[in-house]
Symmetry: D2
């Protein structure tokens, strides 16, 4: 047992921290989108990140930086300190990361050439269209969208919403989850298929806000209508019925990334809370000397340390025993990290007074992001129930 980062990780951390100071934080002041697409400055940040060798860090294997989950996790944490900018600047932003992983692992050479290459180059964006308005997002087997074969084409009909990134005009390709065979066994009914944005019959109906935010930095969340959308059969990813398995494969790394970025958000919130507490002295006494504020700061530090270790252990398990062996821990971090970080950001907001709820600090937007992650991939409650069942199973057969 050893709690030290390896040399590769430390080297990347050092360079990434410098990049944050030099490029990312200075860009924050001007980085705000009222609409549905990222600010123009993002393009120059991407150029700088490529030049600094900080590009596609998330992706293991030949197509990316080749880091393990345990090596990438501390880097994802650092990007989470400025989550609207840094992940996109480094081409490490969701949902593109998951889509690139899927194409790298399951895509045909043609699919990789056509879609993975521009995604890896950062010239286009993508979205993953799974969630539906009439179906609990936690229950993927219930999806209503149909993908029906008709000769050399698949015909797609369905209704999706909360599709992250889809309002961005530069989002050129959707990976769509739907049912190719509703009568098959429960976990092989679904397939995933590539649908270019400009395919006839696909309507990006509207953007959906998140607590008043458009989330325009990555294009926001869209409602999509698929009406007799036709794509060639070569657009299918993997095999018919493989959609559920592919979506499970992307879950593990995605949760590590999300959770480590959340840790970074919490660190940012804690830093802002400390700085504000030192700077403000209502009633003649710095907030930093108020017992209640000290309690928030101490609790925040303690909770961050615990949460980070659990995420790192989950990453280590994924590297050593695989997605399946890390199941409990991956579920555990999904349960504990968003709510923990939400709590810390709430206290940071409180320490800032009204300003903490406004556009004058990043805190309110960070909070909204953390809050939303208590729901993304299914509400925490569903994951708790599942984790509890596994815990109980340990005792079912033992007297």
């Amino acid at each position: 047992m050893d709690f030290e980062f390896d040399a590769t990780t430390e080297d990347y951390r050092k360079r990434l921290l410098a990049f944050m100071d030099e490029h990312v934080y200075p860009a924050e002041a001007g980085y705000h989108s009222d609409g549905w697409e990222p600010p123009a400055v993002l393009e120059s940040l991407k150029v700088a990140a490529k030049a600094a060798g900080l590009w596609n860090l998330f992706l293991p294997g030949e197509h990316g930086a080749g880091l393990t989950n345990l090596q990438y996790a501390p880097l994802a944490e650092i990007t989470g300190r400025s989550p609207a900018i840094a992940p996109a600047a480094l081409n490490c932003a969701a949902p593109d990361t998951g889509n690139m992983e899927v194409l790298a692992e399951f895509g045909t050479p043609q699919q990789r050439e056509q879609w993975l290459r521009p995604l890896l180059d950062g010239t286009i964006r993508s979205a993953f269209a799974m969630t539906e308005p009439q179906v609990a997002s936690s229950d993927a087997t219930n999806i209503g969208t149909r993908i029906e074969r008709d000769g050399d084409e698949y015909v797609i009909n369905g209704h999706k919403f909360y599709i992250t990134g889809a309002m961005n005009p530069n989002c050129r390709i959707f990976i769509v989850m739907g049912k190719t065979d509703p009568d098959a066994e429960r976990h092989v009914q679904q397939s995933q298929i590539l649908v270019p944005r400009d395919t006839p019959g696909l309507t990006v109906k509207r953007g959906m806000t998140v607590f008043g935010y458009t989330d325009g930095d990555h294009g926001g969340h869209a409602e999509l209508i698929f009406e007799n959308v036709r794509v060639p059969v070569s657009n299918l990813i993997g095999v018919e019925g493989g959609g559920f398995a592919i979506s499970q494969a992307r879950l593990g790394p995605g949760r590590i990334h999300h959770c480590m970025r959340l840790i970074g958000m919490a660190e940012r919130g804690l830093e802002l809370m400390c700085r504000r507490s030192l700077a403000r002295a209502p009633f003649g006494k710095p907030l930093a000397e108020q017992g209640v504020v000290q309690d928030w700061i101490a609790e925040s530090r303690v909770r961050i340390e615990q949460a980070r270790l659990l995420v790192l252990k989950a990453a280590w398990l994924m590297d050593t025993v695989g997605n399946k062996g890390a199941h409990t821990e991956i579920q555990a971090i999904k349960i504990v990290v968003p709510s923990t970080v939400e709590w810390i950001l709430d206290k940071a907001i409180q320490a800032h007074g009204a300003a903490g709820t406004s556009q004058d600090t990043p805190l309110a937007a960070l909070w909204a992001a953390a809050r939303t992650l208590r729901l993304a991939d299914g509400p925490d409650e569903v994951h708790k129930r599942s984790l509890a069942r596994r815990e109980l199973n340990r005792y079912r057969s033992r007297p």
Copy 2:
């Protein structure tokens, strides 16, 4: 001791509930402001409210409906079920209510004629400019804005922010808090003065968002700059040095109103949580039969009942022993109600999944309003400290 509403209250409740069904809820779908002013439909709602005899209910005495705090409180709760519409429709929205109370109690006949009358008629709106960016809003004695006499005029210089309603172009008059004598005893340094919106030197600099929302339904929150703003001495409210006392006087009723509207918001959230739980059945079982959701519902009901009784008792105390005698209870409701309601709304959001965070339900906006009230009039922590000191004082002199 008796927990039944009197006949007057019951009569108003009945009529107001009918008004909500007939006018307010139907208006909700179309009631959304992307900008900084209320939707046009508000004007027709105001006509309907006047016709229904549901106008200026908040105001005791001859200028208003003449209700006690205890009689008005349950009506404020009902308007809180649709807080973006109902209070404004009934001319019972903050901060106009407090401003009207101040003008009715402390205004000169001329001030009442010029500003109270159009406010009572609902033809203009107003704002209360106290909070400053460099000063803790909980510490009114620290205010930096200067109000200096120069012949027949006062000259105002200062910087205000988070001034609710000030972005609304129909907000024609500001009551501004500033110091007329910084060298006087601590609580008589401040004065309040009327400043029309179009006075030279007054700049409405920008709107401030709240968790991404403009709060445009009542005009949003503005940052204001006062640079050598000149108004006639007759614009002073009350006497020089009376500003702090006037602001204390408005606090009591304001908190009752806010807290009762919050109770209404919580009831709305609980209703939506129940309806959603009955309607959705992920994994084949209605949410309403999930133990965790039942726990949220029961906790919500129990917390609402407790909080409501405490607000009603505070209102009763204000009516029977006055603002000062009700001090502890007024502080207690400020401490407990916003955080309680925030908790309930959070659970209602969780029961709705991603949709709960979007514009498709009122929940996210209600949540942001409740969250903000944990900071308005000073953060909860300041009020807890003050209440604790009073509690401790009971034992200081007793062995």
Copy 3:
């Protein structure tokens, strides 16, 4: 709506507060039972209470003081400040109160003569034997104990535990709940029957501790074995099959009493927390000036105020619309009061350091009592589920 106590209540409160000062608090220091029966000093306190006209206050109607629930509730609160002594001194201690209510309402003249009279006189104690080790105490319909008619006798067989007061040798009579007809409809299978302590076949097996305490002040909690215990048919209370209904009837007042005593316990805890905070100054600063301690004190005050109002409203509802009409509120106070009071006592203990966990303050024993009440009459979770279902029912039939 009116939040003032009536004159009768105020008169009793005044006299009871004087009795506490004169008799109860001074007795606390010497009042400790290592074994299973109350200290001898209790008898003289009972004499004093009778003399002061503070006897059987709990009992409405001709047999007792004739107070309403709303009148008795504030008196129960006061006795709760010293719950090991005051309720027993005033002959208002559970489970005798419930047993006396049952005998007064459902007993035959002979039963009343034989058992109610000495209970009213305070010469004997009693217990209520319902809970069983193999059955969830929240599910009364599941009870395993059998009461079978055999000629002029009933024969009782069963196993009970956690029977409060039964270890006290002065506990002369048990009211036993069991099934007379296991095949009848679910709520008419049970009956209640009087079993004198010395009946052959009844074994008081052992005392059961509560967090290390014997709870010896009222005799502790016993495990009982009934083996062919025979009593005359005249010992049946009410009719065969009436047991469930009788047990429901005693629940309402019992919960009011328990909850109001808990409020008194919380007030005691808060007082001790305040006094300790003023008296101790680790690191040179009184605890009373520590922000975190102030936060505890303020939260305690606010929670107490809310909880008390809810219990008083439940009492008022019982008086005005009856046990059934007050169902939701009676359940609500069972849910909220024990956990609230437990929280307050935990903070009071923390403010006392190690001493707070020892016999040197009443806090640890008060805490154990509050903790246990989260389980008595069924765990909170069962009551929450039931309350949630009623809440949900409001929306089942309404679109």
Copy 4:
């Protein structure tokens, strides 16, 4: 970074788990002390532990098993599953462990011969007398006990309480903390000195209970009076003025041990909660299928995993950078572990109903132990304040 135990640890874990199954759990049923000394069966368990090579595992260096903190921590966790028996059986129980560490590191050859040897052999017990009734236990610099030199002797006068283990007649030696020079600089006023139990002038006044428990398994907690107690100067440990430094040295390992045992207690509680939930089905549905119980189980698992990792990291830091470098983490585990474990045990109790509060499960006693550790070595709040200050210091000098 690597989360796997090394081979030595795994070997010890395997043998210790077998010892628990073979010797410890079977002894639990009969292991209960009503008085102030451990049950007689303990002696045979000690023989078995020695035979199994599971003796003095806590002690690094030549005198003990020579394990690092990181190697011993997982073993301490296992002993925590039966904390009244296993630590004492393995001669790894507090406060002897800390006393042995102190004697091994700071004792003279004669002190080691006279006291360390029988302690290592398990033939006597010891206590550490620091806490005083009039001084916050978190503020060691405030201690009132005097240790004054008089020729070849030291004369000790003072008042101690809550001295763990001191009621055990087999506790033969006290390490007493007192002031040799009250006028010296703050951290060199104190010294530690050995005082045999039978020294004239030392009175073991009474035992102090903890939530009704005597904690008799290790001898309970005593109040001690020192009146002109004389010991030879050779009884001083280290140098005059070295007492504070010595007490700091023992803190680090002590917290690791306590916290890892607490993790084991939590695992035990979780196991009992799971087993009970599978076994009981009130209202016809196993508790294990109740959503609220599943929520408890999942939360418990997630909290345990996080807490364990933080304690292990603290142990690793102690091994790699020393007590001082691990300061933040040692404080962090003191803050988070007892309250986390208390929460889990509370839920386990709740799942057991009334039985959970009684002597029929170990849960209530485990709970009392965890609760007390929120106070031992100073209340959590003191540690939070200190940790917060260190966190704030990171930003004091950085703009």
